[in-house]
């Protein structure tokens, strides 16, 4: 896994730099690995959102599903 995160190393380094956070290279790589694991997981999700028909507010949706509001 460590060999294929070089691009994400750059992303992790930029994210840390933007916040003024200093980290050793091996820690940057750990963050890259963690980010890769998460983004890989997200890439397998195949849900198509219709941006105008979805309920906009999560809590409103919960109340409606409970028959309240």
């Amino acid at each position: 896994m460590r060999s294929d995160v070089s691009n994400l190393n750059s992303l992790a380094q930029i994210a840390l730099d933007l916040h003024g956070i200093e980290r050793a290279p091996e820690r940057v790589e750990e963050i890259a690995i963690e980010t890769k694991r998460l983004l890989s997981g997200l890439s397998s999700i195949n849900v198509k959102l219709d941006y105008y028909d979805e309920p906009l507010d999560y809590t409103v949706m919960l109340r409606k599903e409970a028959g309240h509001g």
Partner: protein, 477 residues
């Protein structure tokens, strides 16, 4: 004299109402047990003995004069150390907040105060409520009350261990991915993660504001109901609570689950669940059927995807809250919490926004499709038996992907339910070969907490898993 702290909260309240005990006696019984047993489990970060005894004395005086504030008037509680009280420090299990003195009162504490509960102090927890095992390098690991070599569960570790060890009658925890239900299940307790927005988070330390829930841990469904009904409801200080349905009273004595449709996962959805857990689930199915419930096979959606979406939200929001501390006080974090929060800095904004939007979509479809033909869903609380502390230590040299995988297993069935925001109640349903608790969770429709509490109570009327006190701490004083 029998050890008063061995009573359940429900029994203690009955004894108070009948004048058989006083709140001062209950408080002192808890303090005696803390003195004797807290070192075994390390459940408390802060003990407020004098203030608790003074509060109890005041409440006894009120009761003697005929003033009874609520059904929990005089009950002795303690809470995860993350709720603000003016002039007090709530550490959040961290070094960073160790000296931060609060200036406001958390709504849940205010409601308990008004209801007449005694607050014994702050309970141990995972650093910043991040981590499901109860390890903590700043305040020491919290241990399982049934066997200190095993994890307490987290992040409300002290809440689970203290209530199970009978150091206190009940406790509040918080749950972003399972942090109420996991320590409850691992310590033989009930724990309620109510619907998102049911219980105010005002004055609580945030882990991830979109997914944070607060709720009670207790020794039975009835104990949990006592605490839940005292704190649930609208709060203008937490907009997520506004517009919710009434909490409503529960009449446990006349309630029934005859005809209740309970969804149970199809075999394939449970193939990663350990045999001992599966056996306990099967036995629970039979009990519920005998009580008149109808079991309906249900195919679960892709929990793995939901898990990643939840993680995206948690990491993104944590990074947003922590970036100043990550820059200014990085040395004050444990290594594992620091790197996990830092990873959130690199998540693209589009991924976070999509995760939030998908939450609405996926929750609506879960209610309509997965729960379309059932009233509640019964899931494992955890697919594995309770792990040892050494094998789950996130700070150990052997940590890394192995521990990360174990954490993923522990939260496999709880984190998706936190993401969906649905109410879920953990109920003990057996013990493994090592004598550690196994539990299931019952998941309901939005704001159907009372249905869950009734189903759990019916189950507990004919089983006794919740009555098993840990042998380490079950002796009378």
């Amino acid at each position: 004299m029998a050890d008063l702290a061995l009573m359940s909260a429900t029994e203690a309240m009955a004894a108070l109402q009948q004048g058989k005990v006083s709140s001062v006696e209950l408080t002192q019984a808890c303090l005696d047990r803390i003195e004797k047993y807290n070192s075994l489990v390390n459940a408390f970060i802060r003990i407020e003995a004098d203030e608790a005894l003074a509060t109890a004395a005041q409440l006894d005086k009120e009761r003697q004069s005929g003033k009874v504030r609520s059904p929990i008037h005089g009950l002795v509680l303690a809470h995860k150390d993350m709720f603000d009280r003016p002039g007090k420090v709530s550490t959040g299990g961290t070094k960073i907040l160790r000296d931060r003195v609060a200036t406001r009162t958390a709504t849940v504490l205010q409601r308990f105060d008004e209801a007449g509960a005694v607050d014994l102090g702050g309970l141990n927890m995972s650093e910043f409520a991040a981590g499901p095992t109860g390890h903590n390098i700043h305040y020491g690991d919290c241990c399982n009350a049934f066997n200190p070599d095993y994890v307490s569960g987290g992040s409300s570790s002290g809440s689970g261990a203290a209530v199970a060890a009978r150091l206190v009658f009940g406790a509040l925890g918080s749950d972003t991915g399972g942090s109420i239900r996991l320590p409850a299940g691992m310590n033989g307790l009930c724990g309620l993660k109510a619907t998102y927005g049911r219980i105010s988070r005002h004055g609580a330390m945030a882990r991830s504001w979109s997914l944070d829930h607060i709720g009670p841990l207790g020794r039975s469904a009835r104990d949990v109901a006592l605490m839940y009904q005292a704190v649930a409801g609208e709060d203008p200080c937490d907009p997520s609570t506004l517009g919710q349905p009434e909490v409503g009273a529960i009449d446990f004595e006349s309630a029934s689950i005859k005809g209740l449709r309970i969804g149970v996962p199809v075999e394939k959805d449970l193939e990663t669940v350990d045999v001992e857990v599966q056996q306990a689930l099967q036995a629970s199915y039979r009990v519920l059927e005998q009580l008149g419930a109808k079991l309906v096979p249900v195919k679960l959606p892709d929990f793995r995807s939901i898990y990643f979406l939840a993680e995206t939200i948690i990491k993104s929001e944590a990074a947003s809250m922590h970036h100043d501390w990550l820059k200014e006080r990085p040395q004050d974090y444990s290594a594992n919490v620091r790197v996990r929060i830092e990873a959130g800095l690199a998540i693209p904004a589009a991924a976070y926004i999509d995760a939030l939007r998908m939450r609405t979509h996926l929750t609506a479809s879960f209610i309509r499709d997965t729960m379309g033909e059932v009233d509640v869903l019964l899931l494992p609380n955890m697919p594995i038996t309770v792990p040892r502390r050494d094998e789950a230590n996130p700070e150990s040299l052997a940590a890394g992907e192995k521990v990360l995988a174990l954490v993923g297993r522990i939260t496999q069935f709880t984190r998706p339910i936190s993401f969906l925001g649905l109410p879920s109640l953990t109920v003990p349903c057996g013990f493994d070969q090592k004598g550690l608790s196994i539990a299931f969770q019952i998941v309901g429709r939005p704001f159907a907490e009372n249905t869950l509490l009734v189903a759990a109570d019916q189950f507990q009327q004919v089983t006794d898993y919740h009555r098993q006190a840990p042998s380490l701490v079950s002796q009378s004083s």
